[in-house]
Symmetry: C2
Subunit: 208 residues, 2 copies
């Protein structure tokens, strides 16, 4: 079986999630980089791989997988290493819900495409993104409050942490205010782990 | 154990997904309705239940679960009835990815809150929503093409169908064009099933 190949971009938050998961699972992989600002992810060659024209996509185990959460759950179900979802069904649902607050209710509303549309309407892209992130983080913080320890859910890294850390990069880029202190403390604990540190945008081969 | 209680709204696409899943699993449940246009989901009583102020939330098995996909995976993991995710890990990833094209890349970008922001910028809400849906459906159709049968993945209902059918309601509401014929055929097959039919917005007690 050849080494998995991650089609991504150093600055893509969804690619960052998958890089963290691959690192936590101890899976060596190659990188193919697509500059999103140049539209490289819309090239015919990449569209043949992922008709959605979005990164990331992961070539692994003879398949091309898309959508970062689906990829990460696949890795969690099929590869050794720390479990990113707890075994208790109720707790699994809470972890997935927290991850989805970020992956569904924050990230897609502040991605490059949507911000381009906001700009075309004469809107302030950063203000739009900051508002989405501030409202989303307030909800995320309230949802994890009963569960949080060193990480979002106790003292074990979960899918919620894997989504939180990349979103904090975007929060800073867009000048989001009032980031809950709990989230910053969790970020610090995560980035102290080699898998998170190695996955940081600035540590990627395609970083500019 | 008391009967599960679904906090939702007849017109909410995410609530519709959960209603379908509850029906497919044969789970009887009660309804609590929140008129989204009136902001009922932002009432202090509901925020105490779900700090995100979004429907649906499901009270079940002594917990309050939020986020429709997390709720549905919980039901799939813990309750009898047809499996909404295949057992093969690669296929599970493809089904989740298709569901996420709708739940991540379409639905949140055309929800009531975001459309309100678009309107405030002087944008055309329906044109914005239609564009999101048309682009998303084109990608969804391409992703399921290698797998589709009577339903999105072969001849068995999956999470992808549970997400598709409610999104088609929004597609029509916003005047989306060029809906792939395959998706309309799958919709027809789904709505012939009692669980889908019973979950339709117009068949809810709070429908107006």
């Amino acid at each position: 079986m050849s080494e998995p190949l991650l089609h991504g971009f150093f600055r893509s938050g969804a690619s960052y999630r998958v890089r963290i998961a691959l690192g936590l699972k101890g899976i060596a992989y190659g990188n193919a980089s697509y500059s999103l600002r140049d539209g490289a992810q819309r090239s015919p060659a990449y569209l043949a791989l992922n008709p959605q024209g979005l990164v990331p996509a992961l070539e692994i185990d003879g398949a091309v997988l898309t959508q970062s959460l689906a990829i990460i759950e696949y890795l969690d179900e099929t590869h050794d290493g720390p479990r990113l979802l707890p075994t208790d069904p109720i707790l699994r649902a809470h972890v997935r819900a927290a991850a989805q607050v970020i992956a569904i209710d924050i990230h897609p509303i502040q991605n490059l495409k949507v911000l381009g549309w906001v700009k075309a309407l004469g809107g302030d892209e950063s203000a739009w993104a900051a508002r989405v992130i501030e409202e989303g983080f307030a909800a995320f913080d309230a949802l994890i409050a009963p569960h949080a320890g060193r990480f979002c859910f106790g003292d074990t890294v979960t899918l919620a942490d894997v989504c939180l850390v990349p979103q904090l990069v975007n929060a800073r880029r867009f000048g989001a205010k009032d980031i809950p202190a709990r989230l910053l403390a969790i970020e610090e604990a995560c980035l102290a782990l080699p898998a998170f540190d190695a996955a940081r945008p600035e540590n990627q081969p395609d970083a500019v």
